[in-house]
C-alpha cells in the first residue's frame, strides 16, 4: 500500500504516459474495491487522480453501466462496486489487450 495521503496510481500509471479510458475505469473500480466496496466521492477524486468534472463523468458512466451503485443519505453519498464491476476488474487484462491490439484505446 502507498503511504497515506499519496495518490494511489500516480507512480504506476501516470508517471510516463497518459492513462487510457479503460485504465481510468479500472483505477476507479480498484479504489472502490479496496475500500471494502464503499467509498465517498472525495476519496475517489483523490485516489484516482482526476479532476472533479472528469470524475463525475466517469462515475455517471459507471453507474449507467451498473459497475457501481450509489447510496445517498441526507448528508453524504457513497459508492460500492457491483458484481459486474468486479467482473470487469477480473477480465481487465484481456479487455485491455483486445482494445490495444485493435487500436481502440482512447
Amino acid at each position: 500500500m502507498p503511504p497515506s495521503g499519496m495518490p494511489l496510481f500516480k507512480s504506476k500509471n501516470m508517471a510516463n504516459k497518459k492513462r487510457t479510458r479503460l485504465e481510468i475505469i479500472k483505477d476507479i473500480l480498484e479504489v472502490i474495491k479496496m475500500k471494502s466496496g464503499r467509498i465517498k466521492p472525495t476519496h475517489i477524486l483523490y485516489k484516482s487522480n482526476l479532476s472533479h468534472g472528469m470524475m463525475e463523468e466517469y462515475l455517471t458512466e459507471l453507474k449507467q453501466k451498473q459497475f457501481i451503485k450509489e447510496q445517498k443519505t441526507a448528508t453524504s453519498r457513497t459508492y460500492h462496486i457491483t458484481e459486474k464491476g468486479i467482473k470487469y476488474l477480473t477480465e481487465y487484462q484481456s479487455i485491455a489487450q483486445f482494445t490495444s491490439t485493435f487500436g481502440l484505446n482512447e
Binding site: Q93, S94, A96, F98, T99, S100, F102, G103, L104
Partner: protein, 225 residues
C-alpha cells in the same frame, strides 16, 4: 454489361470453401469482440463486433452466390434463363459488396473513436452512393474497399508506433495481405489468375487474423497471471 470476375473451372469449389473459411474467422473475431463488449460495454468494441459480423455475413453471401453459379452451371438447370441467372448472381454480388463495405465503414468508425453516429451514416452513405451511381458497380466497390483498408492499415501502423504491441504487428500483416488481395481482385475481370491469387492472399490475411486472435488470448492470460 459489367464483367465481375473470371474463375478458372478447376478453382470452382475451392473458392467457395475459402470464402466460408473467411466467414468463420471473421465470425470468430466478432464473437470474441462481443464477449469483450459484454464485460466492458465500450461502444468502440460494439462497432468492432458489428464490423466483423458484417464482413462475415458478406463472405457467406459471396460463397452463396458462387455456389449458386457453380450448381446452376454444373447441373445445367433446365428452364433457368440466362437473364435470371445473371440477375440473381448480380443481386447477390451487390449485397456482398454492400455488406463488406458496411463492415469496413464500421471498422473505420470504431478506429476513429468518436461518438457521433452521424459520421458513421455519412461515411456509409457516401460509400454506398458512389457504388450505386457507378456504371462499373462491382469494380467501384473494390476501389472503395481498397480506400478503407488503406486507412485502417495506416491507423494500425500509427498504433504500433505508439504501443509496440506484437499483436498489432500481426494485424498490420493481416491488413497488408487483405490490401494486396483487394488490389489483385481489381484485375480479376480480365485475368482469372488474379481471382486465384486474390483468394490466396485473402486466405493468408484471414489465417493471420486467426493467429492474432490466438496471440491476444495468450497475452491477455499471461498479463492476468
Amino acid at each position: 454489361m459489367e464483367m465481375y470476375y473470371r474463375v478458372p473451372t478447376w478453382f470452382f469449389g475451392f473458392d467457395i470453401g475459402m470464402e466460408i473459411l473467411y466467414a468463420c474467422i471473421a465470425a470468430l473475431i466478432a464473437y470474441q469482440a462481443y464477449k469483450v463488449y459484454k464485460i466492458s460495454e465500450e461502444q468502440t468494441i460494439k462497432h468492432l463486433t458489428v464490423a466483423f459480423g458484417l464482413i462475415s455475413l458478406s463472405y457467406i453471401i459471396w460463397a452463396g452466390v458462387n455456389s449458386f453459379i457453380f450448381n446452376t452451371v454444373a447441373n445445367a438447370v433446365e428452364g433457368m434463363c440466362i437473364g435470371c441467372l445473371r440477375d440473381i448472381a448480380q443481386g447477390g454480388l451487390y449485397l456482398y459488396t454492400g455488406l463488406f463495405i458496411a463492415g469496413l465503414v464500421s471498422l473505420v468508425y470504431a478506429t476513429l473513436n468518436i461518438k457521433k453516429p452521424g459520421v458513421y451514416y455519412l461515411l456509409l452513405g457516401l460509400a454506398l452512393t458512389i457504388m450505386t451511381i457507378s456504371i462499373q458497380k462491382f469494380a467501384t466497390s473494390r476501389v472503395v474497399a481498397l480506400f478503407f483498408i488503406t486507412y485502417i492499415l495506416y491507423h494500425y501502423v500509427g498504433c504500433y508506433k505508439n504501443t509496440h504491441n506484437p499483436c498489432t504487428k500481426t494485424l498490420i500483416i493481416a491488413f497488408t495481405l487483405l490490401l494486396i488481395s483487394s488490389i489483385d481482385f481489381l484485375f480479376s475481370p480480365r485475368y482469372y489468375e488474379a481471382y486465384v491469387i486474390g483468394h490466396i492472399f485473402e486466405l493468408g490475411a484471414y489465417a493471420t487474423f486467426w493467429y492474432a486472435l490466438i496471440q491476444i488470448k495468450k497475452h491477455g492470460k499471461q498479463k492476468k497471471n
